[in-house]
Amino acid sequence: MTDKSGKKRVGIFSLTCDEGCSIFLTEIFNQKLIGWLEKMELVYFLAVKDHVEAGNLDIALVEGVVTSEKDSEQIKKIRERSKILIAMGSCAVTSQPSGQRNNFNADQLKVIEEHFEKYKFLPKALALKDVVKVDDEIIGCPIDEVKFVEIFEKYL
């Protein structure tokens, strides 16, 4: 799947979350990006690109929880199109904190239930591995820098 230049095709995706992991990743980039660009092509990262393609990925980095039907469809599509899928950060790995509604009591749920139907929310917010096969995980809120570099470079 690697493109003609021999570079790995990498996509960075955000499901439901605060996007803190991808923002923190742009801070890890401060030191690492120039070196990594020798080995990878960033083909999907809405934060910095307009023209994005989400096909034929070698590595997909995904942050956030699967909270709605739309999230669920998206993560399945990403899975189909990626060789390696890495769950990035606590939300993607454990469903928390973005899936905090899972822990709500009846009173709290009552206030938000109308929203569930309108935006087709799933009964519970899910970690990625509850929906698709995940090849690796990087824990942290946001991702731990040392762990990220170690795991990402393993696949690069």
């Binding site: 996007e19 803190g20 923190f24 690109k49 904190p97």
Partner: protein, 444 residues
């Protein structure tokens, strides 16, 4: 004149924080409807905090937004402190200023270099800059890195900073690293002056009569002051502009706002005293430029005459100037203070109701809390991007109507609209993760 029908749908606007879609409907050559749709899924923070220990809430609400997490953390800490009568010491205030400056440097740099510069250079991504401009990538990373390292020094990390808490900081500054951070800040200063020049020379112009609102602070530190509003009618004289406007206390902000519902959107907007308005860097420069750091005033003098400005694209220039100010004031604070270990100040009481506001990178961020026996009973917050949505939508309407009136053909029309509208929305630096977080607030 072509009288065409056209539906422009921009799905997932790129180079902004979070997800938003835009639908534009043109009928018979005229703009009929603009729908700006914030597509972030709500994460129900207003409900999640109920019953939580008030002192733990700032670290949770930090998770509302990855990019300006420090703004949420700091504003919520301020609200808890005001509600529970916590008086943080002078050193804590200095450390907070440094923390907020670290965020301004990183966050504005990400926006200007990675989101806006590609539009100016007519490329898709900063990573695609031609070889002769490759220094821009290195400069972008260097500026972000200096901000990131300052945040790490003071607050432990630049995203979801662990050391900043109610009453003080949990860790002391590693004094061995201070000199290195100062030298990094000094090194990026000339790069930032160059960035200011790039945006000062940018010829993009879009003006519409809107209102500006900002927290006006005496040292431009984004933390403590009065909320000021200044209407900018097109024919106002300079003197009238300076005399005009009015000030309110931070905690009264809520009383001057009204909710505006945006259909099809997971977000709600506001008007201020019945008028749409803009918050953020442009508003701050329009209302408070005289309080910038003396070194910033000196070195950015030739660009400051442009403010007050109604040109939305001057928000980019204003952000670049704020990076310089954040560098200059941070250097001054680091060079002139010794930092010692301090125990965080404890709350004087366990119950109360109050509010606090700071100015976040994208504008005034307001937190109001009701706390009983140390636990949160109610949280209300006002998010910068949510406040800008009405102004943003009206700007899009005006820009699209203008493009329609040129009578160009359908293909060109669509291309122009997509380009100009994306550019304009990016100038606001919207953050959709923030804008969508709340739901069903009790409006009083």
């Amino acid at each position: 004149m072509h009288k065409c029908d056209l539906d422009v749908e921009i799905s997932k606007l790129s180079k902004i924080e979070g997800h938003a879609d835009l639908d534009i409907k043109i009928r018979d050559g005229k703009l009929e409807e603009v729908n700006l749709k914030v597509m972030e899924n709500v994460r129900f923070f207003n409900q999640a905090v109920i019953g939580m220990a008030a002192t733990a809430v700032p670290q949770l609400v930090s998770r509302i937004c990855g990019t300006c997490s420090i703004a949420h953390l700091t504003a919520c800490i301020e609200a808890v402190e005001k509600t529970l009568d916590v008086k943080p010491g002078a050193q804590t205030i200095l450390l907070r200023k440094l923390t907020v400056y670290s965020m301004m440097i990183r966050d504005h740099a990400l926006h200007l270099y990675f989101f806006v510069l590609p539009d100016m250079l007519d490329i898709d991504s900063l990573l695609d800059v031609p070889e002769d401009k490759h220094n821009l990538i290195h400069e972008a990373l260097a500026v972000k890195e200096a901000g990131n390292n300052l945040g790490e020094l003071v607050a432990g990390r630049s995203v979801h900073a662990p050391f900043e808490q109610v009453g003080g900081f949990s860790h002391e500054i590693d004094t061995a690293r201070v000199l290195k951070i100062i030298s990094e800040l000094k090194n990026i200063r000339p790069i930032v002056l160059k960035l200011i020049e790039i945006f000062a020379n940018c010829d993009w112009k879009f003006e519409r009569n809107t209102n500006f609102v900002a927290l006006v602070t005496e040292d431009f530190s984004f933390l403590e002051g009065k909320i000021k509003s200044l209407s900018l009618p097109a024919n106002a004289t300079q003197q009238a502009l300076q005399a005009g406007g009015f000030e309110i206390e931070e905690e009264d902000y809520w009383d001057h706002l009204h909710k505006v519902v945006l259909p099809y959107s997971q977000a709600t907007s506001f008007d201020f005293e019945g008028k749409e308005y803009m918050v953020g860097s442009l508003a701050r420069l329009n209302l408070n430029k005289e309080n910038l750091h003396p070194r910033t005033l000196r070195d950015a003098a030739k660009y400051l005459g442009r403010f007050p400005s109604q040109n939305i694209y001057d928000n980019n220039l204003a952000q670049a100037i704020e990076i310089l100010h954040s560098i200059d004031h941070s250097i001054e604070i680091l060079e002139n203070n010794k930092f010692a270990k301090e125990e965080p100040v404890k709350p004087e009481k366990l119950s109360g109701e109050n509010a606090g506001a700071i100015d976040a990178p994208r504008g005034t961020l307001y937190y109001a809390l009701k706390i009983a026996d140390g636990k949160v009973e109610e949280l209300k917050l006002v998010i910068p991007t949510a406040q800008n949505l009405v102004s943003m939508k009206k700007d899009v309407e005006q820009i699209v109507s203008g493009i329609c009136a040129t009578g160009i053909g359908k293909v060109e029309l669509e291309k122009n609209i997509v380009r100009e509208v994306s550019k304009l929305i990016r100038a606001y630096d919207p953050c959709m993760s923030c804008a969508s977080h709340f739901l069903r607030i009790k409006w009083v």
